[in-house]
């Protein structure tokens, strides 16, 4: 894993690659006391012709910078972030590699303050090949828990957005659902996102997804899929999407680095259970294939999304 440190008022040291293992941290650190922690998630792919590539790592670097600003932390530069990611990717294997950058307030704080030291860390783990389509999601619309509110930190990839919705996820899973769909905290009328991915609905030629105004994570897959959907001739609207519209949609799908695009098979809202189109003819299948083809080098990347690993590990 890669580790670099930075003191308040300074910039990040050159990182070191060390063996993966526990890290040492003050019991009084900003992360443990005040939740000063951000993480990222991106993938390295082995292309069909054997190259190793990263998918839009600059976007993860930028998102970490936005998050750091929101939580009063010091982030690494985009260059250092991307360089560090490259250093942590091991020689090619099968499937993809999940890369986990972490930025934490590691220095000790007494009163409520920004931590005096930050640690930027990256570790990796292999993940299965998502190239083949997988079965659809069965979502439960949550009526009790809300993920984020305007004026909060729901729009950044902060650790503070996850433990508060864990209970909702575990309750839904115990009822046989695959994930939870959260509604907005202000009105409870519009859909927002799942625990760890964004959502789209399709009706006719229009693809709609909730806007990223601070309560939803601006997913990099979301952004990429919106662009590909436009290329396919769909109209993509970023706007409030009500539960009613969700229930009347023809197709619903989710996006995220881990699953790329995943069809939603059913949505359960109170005692209503709606079934959506999935499988071969579905738009989600088409989009999933297109994006994974770009990632795997099967289709040419005309968008500049793919970053090559400097030949180093070819």
């Amino acid at each position: 894993m890669y580790v670099a440190k930075c003191k308040q008022g300074e910039s990040f040291s050159e990182g070191k690659i060390i063996p993966y293992g526990d890290i040492s941290i003050s019991p009084c650190s900003g992360i443990l006391k005040y939740g000063q922690g951000l993480f990222e998630g991106l993938k390295a792919h082995r292309t069909e012709d054997g190259r190793i590539t990263l998918f839009r790592p600059d976007q993860n670097a930028l998102r970490m910078q936005t998050g750091a600003d929101r939580l009063c932390m010091i982030p690494p530069s985009v260059e250092q972030f991307v360089e560090a990611v490259k250093q942590t990717v091991p020689p090619p294997g099968e499937g993809a590699l999940y890369i986990r950058p972490l930025l934490i307030g590691s220095g000790a704080v007494l009163g409520m303050a920004s931590a005096p030291e930050y640690t930027f860390l990256i570790y990796v783990s292999p993940v299965g090949n998502y190239h083949k389509a997988s079965s659809g999601l069965n979502l439960k619309v949550d009526h009790k828990y809300r993920r984020a509110h305007t004026g909060g930190a729901g729009g950044v990839k902060s650790c503070t957005n996850y433990s508060p919705v864990l209970k909702s996820l575990l309750e839904a899973k115990s009822l046989g659902f695959s994930d939870v769909l959260f509604l907005d905290a202000a009105t409870g009328r519009n859909i927002e996102e799942l625990c760890t991915c964004n959502i789209f609905i399709v009706k006719g030629n229009i693809v709609s997804t909730p806007p990223t105004l601070g309560t939803i994570l601006p997913g990099i897959t979301r952004k990429s899929i919106s662009e590909l959907a436009r290329d396919f001739g769909y109209e993509v609207q970023e706007r409030d999407v009500s539960v009613e519209e969700l229930l009347e949609a023809e197709e619903v799908f989710c996006t995220g680095t881990a699953m790329v695009v995943k069809a939603v098979e059913t949505v359960t809202f109170h005692d209503k259970k709606i079934k959506y189109m999935t499988g071969e003819g579905a738009m989600s299948t088409k989009l999933h294939l297109m994006l994974t083809n770009i990632q795997m080098g099967v289709v040419e990347d005309t968008k500049g999304w793919i970053v090559e690993m400097d030949g180093l590990l070819k």
Copy 2:
């Protein structure tokens, strides 16, 4: 410091006292990735006649249990919590001692899940003597950031409630304010609390404080002060308190373990700045004195709030 561990499905091991220092934790732990962390804060006092006492430690233990349930963590039992606190309090010195219990998801998680291992840890630090009244707070009502929403985790002492409001606090401090007063996320019309303490307003014989319905931390000082205010003959109302009422109050004060009771000198709302009664004649001064007198053993504890340190360290 005191450290005990617990695996999913088991209960906490007997803790060990070890020298204060960094702890070792997985980069993939529940706390670092998903913000699975709770903390507590309580004080040990050296009474006038030399005994060492704790103030309502069972309440902190119970609050940690509520928080653990909310964040799907395993908490220590009330007995183990109180016993552990007693073990960490060193021989008597001057002033008070601040005791910091911490419960974190220390086990590694891959997908979003409850951590497979929890660490319960307590460390202490000396704090000044708050027995004497200190100068009042100058608060800024925040219009941009919100602390918590219904259906979130704002009602528990989770690390996830602090980093999202740090920016608000630092902005206010840079403008010369002492702290920030947050409004409710739903309407923005009612007051909630500060970054780390609860708020009360006084008008005539009525003392009002926002209700703890999941967006406000149920402060132990808040609860104790409500009871003492009733003893003094005030009517205490737990209910929504609007900004208008705040601006028309005669006196405003805050409560928390660290400062006990602290008068608010001014509140700034947009370009309005209101001054409140502070000093000798203020209710906050009376309540501060009463509670610290109970804590210091000057006044008899008729409420069973004081827990003695088993003679051990007398």
